[in-house]
Structure formats: C-alpha cells, structure tokens
Amino acid sequence: MNYIALKMLMGDRGKYLGIVMGLTFASLIMTQQPAIFVGLMARSFSFISDVGLPDIWVMDPKVQFVDDIKPLQDTELYRVRGVEGVDWAMPLYKGMIKARLYDGTFQTCNVTGLDDTTLIGGPPVMLKGKLEDLRRSDGVIVDIDGARDKLAKKPTVNGGKPVPLDVGDTLELNDRRAVVVGIAKNTRTFQSQPIIYTTYSRAMLYAPRERKLLSFVLVKAKPGEDIARLVQRIRDSTGLAAYTQDEFKTLTVNYFLKNTGIPINFGISVLLGFIVGAAIAGQTFYNFTLENLRQFGVLKAMGTSNWVLLRMILLQAVLVGSIGYGMGVGLTALFGYAMRNTILAFKFPWQLLVFSATGVTLIVAFAALISIRKVIKLEPAVVFKG
C-alpha cells in the first residue's frame, strides 16, 4: 500500500511540487533567517572568541557587553595579579578611535591595545606580516575586511576598484602616525568597524586623553585551578566584575537580545515563514487529500482499514516533509556558502537544523491531521455516488 500511496502523491506532479515547494519555503525561512540572526548574535561576541586565550575577563562592574567600555585604573591590573590562583594577568585596551586616511577622510576604527611584552589578545590569523611586527616603530595590524573596504585607498583609475590597505601603508590615529605592519583575519564584529591592533603602550598614545584607559584585564588561571572559584575570588578581592569567556559571551548576547529589536524582527520573519509555509503546504496537502477522497473511498470499500489509510497519508506527509525540509535546509546552506565572503552575518549551527525540522514536522503533522480526519470519517458508500 505504501507504493500506492507514493504513486497517488507523485502522480499529480503539480500538486506534489506545490506541497514540496510550500514546505521548502517554510524550511528555508525557518533556517535562513535564524541563521542570519545567530550570525549577528555571534558577531556580538566575536571579539571575545578571537582573543581566545584567557580564562577570565575582568572589567568594571557596570560593563553590560563587550563594546560597553568603562575603563579601569591601571593599578587594577596589579590587584588582579595579586589574587591567589592567577597564573598571569594582562592589560587590554579596546576603544573607538578615528583614523585619518591618506586622502584626508576619517574612519572610526576599533583599536585594540595588546600587552607590549606578550602581545596576548592578538588576531587569530595573520595573513601578512607577523604579530611581533607590532614592536616595530608605529606598527599596527589591520584586519583584512577593514583593509579591503573602509580603509581601502581610492582607485588609481576612474571607475576602478578601491586598492586595499597593505603592509607599509600609513594612517593617522589621533594625529599620530601608524604604519601597517601586518594584515590579519578576524571574525567580523557586530559593529563592522575596521579593527586595528597595536601595543598597549602605543594604544595609550593613540587614545584620547582620559584618566583611566585600561578596558579589560585578561586572566589565565594556574593549571588545575577551579575557574569558577577563581572568578569569585577576583570579584571578592577586587570588587570588579569577572567573567569566564562563556559568561562574558552570554552577558553580551543577552544585552543585544534585551536591548535591541533584532530578536523580535527575526522572530516575526520566522513566524511568518512558519505560518505561510503551514498555510501553503497544509492547504495544498489537504486539497490533495480532498481530491483523492474518492480514491480513498474506493480503497476503503475494497477492504483497506483506516489504519492503513492513515499510514498511507502519514507516509505521503513524511515524504513531502522530508523533501521540503531537505531542499529548504540545502538552499539555506547554499545561501550561506554563497555569502561566506560578504558582510552578511550567517551561522548555521546544528541546533537550527533541529529547530526547522521541528517546524516542518509541525506543519506536516497539521496537514496530515486535517487530511486524516477527513479520510477516517469518510463513508465508503461514497464510491457509489455518481
């Protein structure tokens, strides 16, 4: 009977494609939009991920997310270093500084100042030059996306492409000369500003005059040290906020979730995708069953049980659901692949596959349920009506 069910389904190509397309659309929207959302949210803490090495981030207790800089006094660094269980603690500067480009225009950049000695907190991947080149006079490292885009030089010919900033080029940061000594690959950040790395001491020179300039203290726990306990110890002994990497990421994401309209906007898109998908697929599948009601009646009259008919409808629903889901997810993956080198935020974790599978299952279950009800209630005597 499974074969008959499948032939009934696929025999009417138009309807079959209609149902599959409806589910594909629903699946696509339910994966593509959340993937962009997750991508955006991941960008909000990409800086934390890129710094990577430290176990604990120490900061002002009022800090709400990674870009919400509330500077500390430099002496806080030494207080943190004094906490029992701390292997090392390094300063990190993070701030927005205007860069004057070679043609006189200005571009706000995200400047990161690394500990002069260890250079801890540097970019994850160096494309040109070496991290140690930061020790050269006026040396800065620029991220590739910024170098290609916002910091790029004007085209040499009219209508040509902008020329990416490269090693050896110069900038001005707060009226001070900065020489590009390296190009790095970073994870894109939420703000999408160019990222410039330099040493902590040089960042102090670039940054506008302020009494306090230390943004974060990066801490590594001693081997075997319980991180959670160390976090608590730092909090207790310094009065500062201390978070593990994951806690700091969560703090940042939660800030964006609570204080921006992003989740609501994406939530509406996903909900609309679900509703439209359910309406199209549900309606088409229901119509398909209605049009085949007579055939189901014939099968019933010939001795097919309700249970077998139910199995046939479920098989049809599962098949269109699986194909629609696969195509939707495939299209989303293709979309992500095509956009991998663009500014678009896109992250496709396995949880999204589960989420959209649940959505498609709900749609298919709904469509099958209303159809099954009709078939179960069908009187086989309908076959004798002309």
């Binding site: 009977m1 074969y3 008959i4 032939k7 009934m8 696929m10 025999g11 009417d12 007579r294 055939q295 014939v298 099968l299 019933k300 009259a301 010939m302 001795g303 097919t304 049980s305 009187e379 086989p380 005597a381 076959v383 004798f384 009506k385 002309g386």
Partner: protein, 245 residues
Amino acid sequence: MTTPELAVKCRQLLKTYDTGDQKITALQGIDLDVHLGELMMLVGPSGCGKTTLISVIAGILDQDSGQCDVLGVDWLQLSSKNKLLFRAQNIGFVFQAYNLLPTLTAAENVAVPLIINGLKRQLAVRKAAELLEKVGLAKRAESLPSQLSGGQQQRVAIARALVHNPRLIVCDEPTSALDHQTGIHVIELLKSVAVASDRALIIVTHDARIFDYADRIAKMDDGRIDSVTVVTQHPQFNKEVENVT
C-alpha cells in the same frame, strides 16, 4: 446462517437517512435472495433505494434493522476488522465512474485488491496482467486510465473486481456511461468472465439494453422490491421495466 446456495439473503432490511430536518427511508423492509451462479439486476427509478441496497449487501453501509447475510455471514455479526477482511476477500466492485486510481497503470489498478489482501506488489501486478489479457487489454497494461477509452477503463474495472476471485460482485451502473456498442461489450464480458457457479453478480442498472443478460431482475420502487422476475421466463420484461425507469 443461510443455505450454501444463497449468496445473499436479505430479510426486512430497513435503512433511513437523517438529513437534519427530516428522515428519508431508503429501504423499507427489503426481502431478497440472490443465488450463487446467478446474475441479478436491480432496476427502478432514481432514488428508489438501489444503491443503498447494494451498499448494505456489499457491507459498506450498515442497515438500521433487518438481516443481511452474504455468503452465509451476517454483516452485523462481524467486527469492524473482520468486516474489512471479509469484504477484501469476498466482494468485488464495479462502479459507474470506473473509480480507477488515476496515477496507477491499468495493471497496478487491477492489482489493488490483491495488494489489499497482502500479496506482494510484483506478484500482484503479474497476476493482474494475466487477467488484463482475459479482458482483452494485454497491450494496455502499462497505460494510465487517462490513456484509455471509457470502455477500456470499465474492462480494467471488471478485471479489478475479479482479480482476487471474490464470490460476490456488485456493479453500479456499469454500462450507463458507455455508448451502446461498448455497453453491450462490457456486459458480455461481465457475463462471460464473472459469472460462475460459485459466484453471484448483482448489477444495479437503468440500462434497458442489458436486461436480457440477467438471470433475474428485481424491480424496486420507493425502498421496496416490487417484483422479482426470472428473465428467461418473461422475455417481455424488458419493455415493462423500461417503462418503469
């Protein structure tokens, strides 16, 4: 239990339909016997209860009261599951609108009752193709219903009704959608391949052209059997029934 010679035994069958405001009595105490080896035709004006009667006889509609034994079994005594099983094994259907599954080939359509009875698809289709040969459609086994003429579709439907070797075949207006010549061919085919000593045929029809092929004709009116006539003993019955319809 009925005697073995009887394929169908109906006694005081009563069936009413509730249409909300009013009750319509479709069968008002029907008494009818159909013997094995017999071709019985049910005739009468529209709305007289013919279709309701064969629906009850075929076990796809329950009567309100009265008794309907088919092949010695009282439908009302069977559980739903056994009813389905009994129907699948013992009843064949031929419909006015053919009711072939449009996306299955002729052979696959014929194979459906065998598949319902649990036979493997490949074997069922092979057996179906053999039967299609009997009804003269060997070359159209792979055709879809839409690629067949009305007469060919009805021949496929007849093959489908016969393929599982049922002991009772109910036909609802099998020739009324066909032209004269095709209708005659179809009834001749039914008579030649379906009638057997261990099987009974009940045909509901308005089509006076085929009355001569019946062994007996039961004339219905207003939910009752008016008369049952043995055709061979009453050659003029055709004209009488024609006037009624």
